[in-house]
């Protein structure tokens, strides 16, 4: 069931989410999104440009974090705006475990006149946030 705006309070917590990202998924995402920048699949190129290892696409991290909102909404078409800053990379080692990312979110603001809620998202890898100012605006009845 899609939440109703009137039932929400600023500070309400959404059900949390965690996901793992592996090298295989980065290759899959590269093809799906058409982003073949080699730092997302080639360790040699990644370390050559000063990165610790292959890193996840920022857009993969952005997409995965939004799932906490769309899982809660049910209908992804209710998302009207979404913004992030890419503050730290998600480093993906060459193993079967990959990297684990923890996502949490709270209701950050309500605008009953516009019929929208702002959801503030936190995405953490190794205990550190990887997205800054991650905010989605959703339309709710």
């Amino acid at each position: 069931m899609t939440p109703a705006l009137a039932d929400l309070t600023v500070g309400d917590v959404l059900p949390t989410l965690s996901y793992r990202v592996t090298r295989k998924q980065l290759v899959q995402y590269a093809g799906a999104a058409g982003d073949f920048n080699a730092i997302h699949w080639n360790q040699r190129v990644a370390t050559d440009v000063g990165l610790p290892d292959v890193i996840a696409h920022g857009m993969f991290t952005m997409a995965s974090a939004l799932r906490i909102v769309t899982d809660w909404l049910g209908d992804p078409g209710l998302v009207k705006q979404y913004e992030v800053r890419f503050t730290r990379p998600v480093v993906v080692a060459d193993d079967d475990q990959g990297a684990e990312v923890q996502v949490s979110a709270v209701v950050g603001a309500l605008d009953p006149e516009a019929g929208t809620a702002r959801i503030d998202i936190t995405s953490k890898f190794n205990g550190q946030t990887v997205l800054g100012k991650a905010r989605a605006t959703v339309a709710l009845a």
Binding site: Y29, A33, G34, F60, A63, T70, D75, Y82
Partner: protein, 148 residues
């Protein structure tokens, strides 16, 4: 090397529409590990009031990728793509993207600047349907590390 300031304020319309396919939406949803039925089950999407599958919101990046790359790889811009990382990204959806959409992308260079030894370029890409109605506006900043 600073980025070419002559690009600022200009539009770079991409001449080929992006045709949003059912399998491309399914592929993208699988790639982000999202099993929302509206991304994979056409009957579920229609039952929810959509003409066909709904695209995950950030699928918009796949829609604009070629248009943006054409601009970013223009040698006259002077961007060293080998050292580029994504600084920030924002989307404003005027309506959800659905399978069957034919979408045109027009990137604009809003700003180029040097910050902390890095070259920064801020892009805004307007995505429209064949009637010219706005579908998505995408704002993104790319950072070329250590080139500024």
């Amino acid at each position: 090397m600073a980025l070419n300031p002559e690009f600022v304020g200009k539009a770079f319309p991409y001449d080929e529409a992006f045709c949003v396919g059912v399998e491309k939406i399914r592929e993208f949803a699988r790639a982000i590990g999202d099993d929302n039925p509206l991304y994979r089950d056409r009957d579920a999407a229609r039952a929810a009031g959509y003409p066909d599958l709904v695209a995950p919101p950030t699928f918009a990046i796949a829609v604009i990728m070629k248009a943006q790359d054409k601009l970013l790889f223009d040698p006259r811009l002077g961007l060293n793509f080998d050292v580029v990382v994504h600084g920030d990204q924002r989307f404003v959806w005027h309506r959800p993207i659905v399978a069957g959409d034919e979408l045109s992308s027009t990137p604009y260079v809003d700003q180029v600047r040097v910050l902390g030894g890095n070259d920064l370029i801020s892009l805004r890409t307007e995505v429209t349907d064949p009637q010219g109605n706005p579908v998505v506006t995408a704002y993104g900043t790319l950072v070329a590390r250590g080139t500024g």
